[in-house]
C-alpha cells in the first residue's frame, strides 16, 4: 500500500516525532457509484491546522473525495466506499460511528451559498439549537459571525433575512453556520467559484485566519486560488481504464510550493501549466 507521505516542516502543529499530525488517513479509499468506480485507491494523510487544496480536472473525483471525509457520500444511495478512512485514528466508516456526529465535527460549505430562508441570526443558531447547544446562544452566534469576518457587516441587522445578503456575505454566513457548532474540520467545496474577485479575496483571507483553529480542506477549480491559500496541494487526475471507464486517482500530493514550482509528476506539470500532454 503506497501512501503519498511527505516530510513537511511548516513550523507548527508537529508531533514529537517531528512529523505533522495527520487528521485524516485515507488508505486505498475507492468510491463506487453503482458499478462505476469514481475514485480508485486514494492514499493520503491530511494534516491538522493546515489548508489542503484538492485540484484536478472535471470528473477526477475531487468533490467525491471531499464528500467522503464527512460521510456526505452516504446520502447518495448507490455510493459505496472501500478501503479505510480514519479520522483522528477512528475508522470513519466503522460500525457505531454516527454520521450526524461526524458532520458536526467535520463541517462543509458548498459552491453555491445556501442560506436557509430565515434571519441571519437564525441561520447561525440553527445547528446550535438542533444539537442542543443552546447555552449562551447569542454569544455563540456573535463569535461565529466574528470568526467568519461577517459580524461588522451584519451586527445591526441580525433579524433581517439572510437572503438579502450579497453572494459573498451569504457564503461567509454559511461558513459562520458551519463553524458555530464548533467543528474540528471545515470542508470547502469550491467555496468561491460563484463569487466576484473581492468576495473571493474575503473568503481567502478568512481561510487564512481560520486555519489557526481549524483543519481546512478545499476543492477548487481555480489553481491560483490553491496556490494562494493552501499549505498542501493534492492533484487528482483522470485514469482511463482498459474498459474505457474514467476514474479519479491521486497523482501527486506535496507542499503547495513544490506543486507549483517543481512538481514531480509529468501529469501534474501538464495540468498546472495548462498544457496537457
Amino acid at each position: 500500500m503506497e501512501v503519498i507521505k511527505t516530510k513537511i516542516d511548516l513550523g507548527r502543529e508537529r508531533l514529537p516525532t517531528g512529523e505533522q499530525e495527520a487528521v485524516f488517513e485515507a488508505r486505498d479509499v475507492s468510491v463506487y457509484y453503482g458499478d462505476q468506480r469514481a475514485i480508485d485507491k486514494v492514499n493520503i494523510d491530511i494534516y491538522r491546522r493546515l489548508i489542503t487544496a484538492i485540484i484536478g480536472p472535471s470528473g477526477c473525483g475531487k468533490s467525491t473525495f471531499i464528500r467522503t471525509l464527512n460521510r456526505m457520500t452516504d446520502l447518495v444511495p448507490s455510493a459505496r466506499l472501500t478501503g479505510e478512512l480514519r479520522y483522528r485514528g477512528i475508522d470513519l466508516y466503522g460500525p457505531g460511528v454516527d454520521a450526524v456526529e461526524v458532520r458536526r465535527r467535520i463541517g462543509m460549505v458548498f459552491q453555491k451559498p445556501n442560506p436557509f430562508p430565515k434571519s441571519i441570526y437564525d441561520n447561525v443558531a440553527y445547528g446550535l439549537r438542533i444539537l442542543g447547544m443552546k447555552k449562551d446562544l447569542d454569544e455563540r452566534v456573535e463569535k461565529a459571525l466574528h470568526s467568519a469576518a461577517l459580524w461588522d457587516e451584519v451586527k445591526d441587522r441580525l433579524k433581517d433575512s439572510a437572503l438579502g445578503l450579497s453572494g459573498g456575505q451569504q457564503q461567509r454566513l454559511c461558513i459562520a453556520r458551519a463553524i458555530a457548532v464548533e467543528p474540528e474540520v471545515i470542508l470547502l467545496d469550491e467555496p468561491a467559484s460563484a463569487l466576484d474577485p473581492i468576495a473571493t479575496s474575503a473568503i481567502e483571507d478568512l481561510m487564512h485566519d481560520l486555519k489557526r483553529d481549524y483543519t481546512i480542506v478545499i476543492v477548487t477549480h481555480n489553481m491560483q486560488q490553491a496556490a494562494r491559500v493552501a499549505d498542501m496541494t493534492a492533484f487528482f487526475g483522470l485514469n482511463v481504464t482498459p474498459e474505457g471507464s474514467r476514474e479519479g486517482i491521486l497523482v501527486e500530493y506535496d507542499k503547495t510550493e513544490k506543486i507549483f514550482t517543481n512538481p514531480s509528476d509529468k501529469r501534474t506539470e501538464g495540468y498546472v501549466t495548462g498544457r496537457f500532454g
Binding site: 489553481m223 491560483q224 496556490a227 506543486i259 507549483f260 514550482t261 517543481n262 512538481p263 501534474t268 506539470e269 498546472v272 501549466t273 495548462g274 498544457r275 496537457f276
Partner: protein
C-alpha cells in the same frame, strides 16, 4: 492548450538565443579590435551594444507582462526565471565587450607585446566556446555535464593569473606600464565573461532540476554540488 501563452514563452526564449548570438559577435569584435588595434571597430562595437540592449530590454519588459497575464507555474515558471537571469548575464558580457573596446582605444599607440595579445586572444576564444556551450545546453535542457563549464572556465582563470606576472615583467618604461595596466583590465573582463557563462549553466541546471545550486563560489573555489 494555452497556445498564445506557449507562443509568448517560446518567443522570449528565441529572443534570448538571438541576444546570445549578438553577444558572441560582440566578443569576437572585441578580440578583433584588440588584435588589430582597430579604432574604427571600437566605435562599431560601442554602437553595436545598442543591438544587444534592445533584446535585453524586450526580454526584461516581456517577463513582467507574461508573469502578470499568464501566471506561469512549475517548469514554465522556472523557464521564465531562468530567462530573466540569463538575460542579465548576457547583457553583462556585452558590457565587458564594450569595456574591452574602450581599453583598446585607451591603449592606442602604446608599445604592444605579441605574447600577451596571443594569450588574451586564446582566453577570448575560450569565452566564446563557453558561451555557446552554455546557450546550447540551455536550449537543449542538457544537464548531462553541467559542470563542463566550470572545467572550461579554469584555464581562463589560470591564464588571467599568469598574465599578471607576464605584464609585470614587461618593463619599467611608463608607456609599457600603461599598456600593461590596460591589458590587465582586458584580462579581467575576459575572466568575468567566463564566470557569467558558468552562471548560465547554473540556470540550465535550475531549469531542469528545479533547485538552484551554485557550481562554484568565489569564496570557496572548489565547492561543487554533490
Amino acid at each position: 492548450m494555452r497556445e498564445l501563452y506557449a507562443t509568448e514563452l517560446e518567443e522570449l526564449e528565441n529572443l534570448l538565443q538571438e541576444e546570445g548570438k549578438l553577444v558572441d559577435r560582440a566578443i569576437r569584435g572585441a578580440l578583433n579590435a584588440l588584435a588589430r588595434d582597430d579604432l574604427e571597430l571600437v566605435g562599431e562595437l560601442i554602437a553595436f551594444d545598442d543591438e544587444v540592449d534592445r533584446r535585453y530590454l524586450a526580454i526584461e519588459q516581456g517577463i513582467p507582462s507574461l508573469l502578470a497575464r499568464q501566471t506561469p507555474v512549475a517548469g514554465d515558471l522556472r523557464l521564465v526565471l531562468a530567462i530573466l537571469y540569463v538575460n542579465l548575464h548576457l547583457e553583462r558580457i556585452a558590457d565587458y565587450c564594450v569595456t574591452i573596446a574602450k581599453l583598446v582605444k585607451l591603449a592606442q599607440g602604446l608599445p604592444r607585446d605579441a605574447g600577451v595579445l596571443e594569450a588574451l586572444e586564446e582566453m577570448g576564444e575560450r569565452c566564446r566556446e563557453m558561451l555557446s556551450t552554455g546557450l546550447e545546453d540551455f536550449h537543449n535542457r542538457d544537464v548531462r555535464n553541467p559542470e563542463a563549464l566550470v572545467d572550461m572556465d579554469k584555464p581562463i582563470d589560470r591564464a588571467n593569473r599568469k598574465l599578471i606576472a607576464r605584464l609585470i615583467a614587461l618593463g619599467p618604461d611608463e608607456s609599457q606600464r600603461e599598456w600593461a595596466m590596460r591589458m590587465m583590465l582586458v584580462s579581467r573582463c575576459l575572466e568575468r565573461i567566463g564566470d557569467h557563462a558558468v552562471d548560465i549553466g547554473e540556470q540550465t541546471a535550475y531549469l531542469v532540476r528545479g533547485r538552484f545550486e551554485e557550481f562554484t563560489d568565489a569564496s570557496h573555489e572548489t565547492s561543487r554540488p554533490a
